[in-house]
Symmetry: C7
Subunit: 276 residues, 7 copies
């Protein structure tokens, strides 16, 4: 029954095995060289750029990059080795065919999360503690993960936003903010007088409030409302202080207008009476 | 008729069978090694991370991961074995071609559900009993499944949300919540006086209500309405108590304003009468 | 002209035929084994899970699964057999190429319908007679098919909803429902008194109506309207009875408020008259 | 110059031709068998199901199915025959490559139309003369084609809707329809009295109008409007008669309320006059 | 240096050339047969169906179809001929790879335009001079091209609509149109009297205006407005005359109501005066 | 060490080189023939059609077409030559695999821009100086490029619109434009009288303004407003003059109505006073 | 054990190695030639076009192009070399299969960013300091990167916009801007008089304000409001000065109208009083 063993072409088999062994050794050597070069390149990359970012962020990015690189290399290495022994990897992939397609789509979302997360970290678009608007959610950033970013809404809700959902990032914690107030005065009031009064108030408030960086200045007549002439005031404040400054300004202007007899008018209507 | 049997090249056939047998044995060995290593890796992974999560959740995740791993491995194993016997698996896949494509798309939705469900469980974005907003549905989570999440709306409706529909998760049961009240007072009232009265009420309410964690504080003039000056009050409460605290505050502030003769004004209009 | 017949290498042909025959037999055996195992597995699966669902639904699901399994297996079997005779199936598929692509897309919708329908049945998201909201359509479920779900709208319209359109299912027939009433009282009325009166009414109604399961309770001041103070009442009712209970409560509260001289106010406006 | 003809291996050529001929005959036989079986299966399918649908619709569906089947089979047959003569069909397809891709996408829309049209006919979702809402178009169905459905809008416009645009079908011609009327009565009127009067009217109208199938019944207080208490009346009518019945009911109820001195109130407003 | 020429196996070369020549001749013959049959089939198709459409349209469609058919055939013919000489066409296609993909997508839009345009012409959904609504554009059709349809908006704007943008076609020039008028009468007026007056007007107008095909009829009480009882009038007019008829009817009804003392009421409001 | 050189089968090598050389020459010849024919065809095409378009536009289109043709041919030529030397081009493409896929998608947008731009130029949908609405942007066209179209908004903003964003083109500079005015007159005015007065004004304006091409005509009662009867006036003007004509007409009609004592009414309201 | 070494066909091996070496040399030479030619072409391209753009922008674009070119070439070079040694690159790619697919999609977004960014820079659509509207974000451009564009909103928020999100670019810093003011005057005022007064104001303002480039001119009656006749004023200003000019004009016109007794009217209403 085992006669067939003798008939095997041992010579050819030996040559085959020899060739494969040589190739295998070559591959392993190449694998370690590539791995070593890649690792050093990644580390150098992050150390060179390390000055610009916090050490924590830098470390996170470096370890993530190393992980991705290592897994990817290993994956390819196994693929090549397997193909040497004629366990054709395409069969393996094809065997995973339909399933793989489906998983691929699932994984796509994951990869999309990670890629976006990577660039958000790299470009420092978001820091923990920033007040941001992403994917329609307002709030303070609690955590920037590779897959998910956690944002604490102002009503206390915790939003889990998958990074792939983050396209435009609006960061409200980068530099001075604007304070803007629109005040409607009566059509009967003298505009010049009102502007003078309001500018005086603005100057006083600015003198007493160190959160104000620029202005506030009265710009002039912004619009004609149906019952009021709208005057706009604009200033710059320290980051995060804009709402407080706006509240202070509103109160101060309201009181000054009252003292100067300038009216903030209610809606007006002209009634023409007919008897039916 | 059966003469052809003699003409078969039995030697080559034997060699073929021998080769295949050897390969088969190799594959089976590899299969069991990979399976064993994979299983241990998964179990260790969940035990290492097990501290941070409830045992139930951990168990669920571990068994799900094991299942997926086992089925996937078996699928590939069968594919490789079949390809040994030249029942070409690609034929099989191709044979399933059009049908497969269609099924693949169907399965894609399923996989998408499972992948998302897996991460929702892993990252603990949702727990049973949480008050959440997902996919435009508000309510209390009744069940987080691998494919579907059940949410009980506040009107009693049961929402079945496929996990793939869950992108942003807004979880209202994670930490203290904000109580916010906007009160409009008359343009004729003294703003300082009104703020003082309201702050007193807030302090009294806070003293008597243990659900209040911070404040509530009167922030100041939030806006100029068409007939009222809007004053904003903000505080922090225990999770889930924000609506009750808001109701208590509203009633208390209303009564205090009444006692102090501060008006919550109706809409105003200035009528200028002309006779037609 | 037929001399060429003699030149055929009959020996090789015989061997070829022999090989093919052996393979064919092997395939047929495998086919029947797989079919038998698969069938038993499916039946066992449904009998094990059968306790949780109605027998009718279980039967439906089982026969559907068996059908799909059988057709799929037969499809692959034919593919393999054809490939044995070198009627290359890929040619067949490729021959169907462009057409196939198009059909594939068409079939995709169908498969998507069936897959979704399968899970809706399996997870019992919808039963005939349920009041549901799916794909923007409100109504009573008349039929849940594999491809289409029929929903009878409340105005009598029959909606045919392809299952693939069903993502979120909102089922209003699962458990008790909420009755919610917002009543606006005058700014001049005593809130405490109004709440007391309304709570009395609620208790009386609850005592006389067995459809009410919990409450109804007066929660307190929900909002300040432009002309009224809004008081909210919430209760739980038997499923489907919420609208009736709400109507009963509305009438009872209205009458009680009238008797106690508490006003449900019309919109208010303050008119300041100027002569032009 | 033609010496090469002699050098041809006529024997092999003959064998080749013989083989091809045999295959060809085999294919043709298979073709006719498959065609015949398929045709019979289709015809039987439609005759078995024929009871449930009109003969015209059944005939239409049967001939469509036969056409599709025949063209498809012929397409594959030609593909296989061509491949026998080594005019490789994949070259043909590949040659059509870019063009084919583009056409495929175009054809996809067509196939999508036909598939959807087929199911609309099969499931009888739409009949000529039905009042339906599909793809945002309201109207009476004039024609259901395989590619396009024609709907006559109520303003006389003819809408050509490609079947692929038809997802949800809302058919308003399947069963009894609801008549719903909301009547607002004054806050000063006695609700019980109003309901009694309205119910009497409903009963009278129902007695005289054979288009009314159920009710109409006065349900009770549906809502508190800003100036009126809304009472809802609901009934069932024969299909298509709901608008007429609603008009009759509206007129009758209006007249009855007038006779009983129950007011349908105009918007109310409380004016508080201040002199400026 | 040219010794190698002698070593060529001239015999085999000759055979090869001979075979190729034979194949080439066969292909050319097939090409012309297919072309001839195809052309005749197309022409016959259009002549058979030619009765139903204008000769111009028929000619256009026939020449378009012939063009597409010829180009397509030539494309495949060149592909097959090239593959005979082993200038592998797939290389050519692959060489065009990335570029081809991109072009394919571009061409896809073009093909989509042409396919849709073809069916719009074939099914006569649009004729030059029709008043249509397609892709959100209202207007008169100026030209239906294979790629673009030109629509002249009523304000004089010329809209170029790519055919692929045309999904639903709403053609307002196919059959009689509806004239619909809603008239609000006072709550104090007698509904029966008003309906009688309006019906008389309708009958008079219909008698004098030959553009009116059906009605117009007074349907009854369509709705209760906040200040008026809405009466609906509906009629049918010749295509394109609906707006003129509506204007005539509006004027006539207004004048008749004035003469009969029936009021078209202004918005009403009940004012309850309080002194502050 | 170099013994192996002798063992080479020089004869076969020579034959191979000879064959390749022959093929190369053949390809080059074909290349130049195709290029020459293609160029001439393109030039002739543009000269034949050149009458209908400006020389500038024709030149632009011709040079673009020549460029695309030349690059495409060169691309294929290089591909075929490379494949002759067994530097398999598919390897090259595959080597570019993932990168290529990504670039392909990027290029797709570019190609889409160019294709759309080409047709916009060819069909003269847009000319520099036209007033158009494309992709939601209103304005005057400043430049139509192959990739981007520049539109100067009326507020001075310069919009860069990628051509792929241009689907529907609404060109407001093609032919006469409509002037449309809706005037509301009092319910108490005589409609016939008002129409007569307005028509007189229209005729006078038309007589004095050469920008008016047709009408303007008073159409009749367009609608019943809540306080006015709306009369519509329509005319045709030279392109671009519609806004000026509308302003002239509005002023003239207003003045004529004033002179004739016809009222353009303010909003009316009927007040029913109740004492609370 | 090592006997097999002797049995190797050293001659063939040598020939193989020789061939590979020759090919390798050829490839390397080609690589350097292509690289050198490509580099020069790119540099020449940017120097030729360099006049039109700032040197900084030109340098940036040149280095980006060189980088992309170099990486791409190196990628293909490695692929070809690897394929020489039969480490089949498709295996490598296939080995990366599923992962690669996912990464490809991720990279696609990146490439899309870079391609769009490249053209934005090349076509100078955006410069740092421009006031633009892109992707729904208004603001001043702070940085145009290859992947992300930073825009500083007017409220101080920093928007990070991925370039792929930038489709239409609306640049408000390219040329003169329009100042537009709509003023409503009373129906009782003389339109001619009002226009004369307003034109005088415009001329005076234009004389004193060097930011005004054209006009401003009073166009005439733009619309009939419910209570006012709307007069439109339009002018051209230096870029960025439009808002200031509008404010100046508004104030000046308001004051002039006041002096001339022309009324900017409040909303009007005709009240018809009925006693209930």
């Amino acid at each position: 029954m085992l006669d067939w063993i003798e008939t095997i072409d041992w010579t050819n088999l030996m040559i085959d095995i020899g060739k494969v062994t040589l190739k295998l050794i070559a591959i392993i050597i190449v694998y370690f060289i590539v791995k070593s070069i890649g690792k050093r390149a990644i580390i150098r990359l992050f150390n060179r750029k390390g000055n610009e970012m916090s050490t924590g962020r830098s470390k996170t990015l470096q370890s993530i990059t190393l992980n991705i690189f290592t897994y990817f290399l290993m994956f390819i290495f196994i693929g090549i080795v397997l193909s040497l022994f004629n366990f054709d990897i395409t069969t393996l992939i094809a065997g995973a065919g339909i399933l793989g397609l489906a998983i691929g789509f699932g994984a796509q979302g994951l990869v999309s999360d990670v890629v976006t997360g990577f660039f958000i970290l790299l470009e420092q678009q978001i820091d923990v503690g920033d007040y941001v608007t992403v994917a329609g959610k307002d709030g303070i950033v609690e955590e920037v993960g590779l897959r998910t970013t956690k944002i604490r809404g102002f009503d206390g809700t915790l939003h889990y936003v998958p990074n792939r959902e983050i396209t435009n990032v609006s960061n409200h914690s980068r530099g001075n903010m604007r304070a803007l107030i629109d005040i409607g005065i009566s059509y009967n009031d003298d505009i010049d007088h009102a502007i003078k009064v309001m500018q005086q108030v603005c100057d006083e408030v600015a003198a007493n409030d160190e959160n104000i960086m620029e202005g506030p200045d009265v710009l002039g007549v912004q619009a004609f409302g149906s019952s009021d002439v709208v005057i706009r005031v604009i200033g710059k404040t320290k980051n995060g202080e804009q709402f407080g400054v706006e509240r202070t300004l509103r109160k101060a202007i309201k009181e000054a207008l009252d003292q100067n007899g300038i009216e903030i008018p209610y809606p007006h209507q002209v009634n023409i009476n007919k008897e039916s």
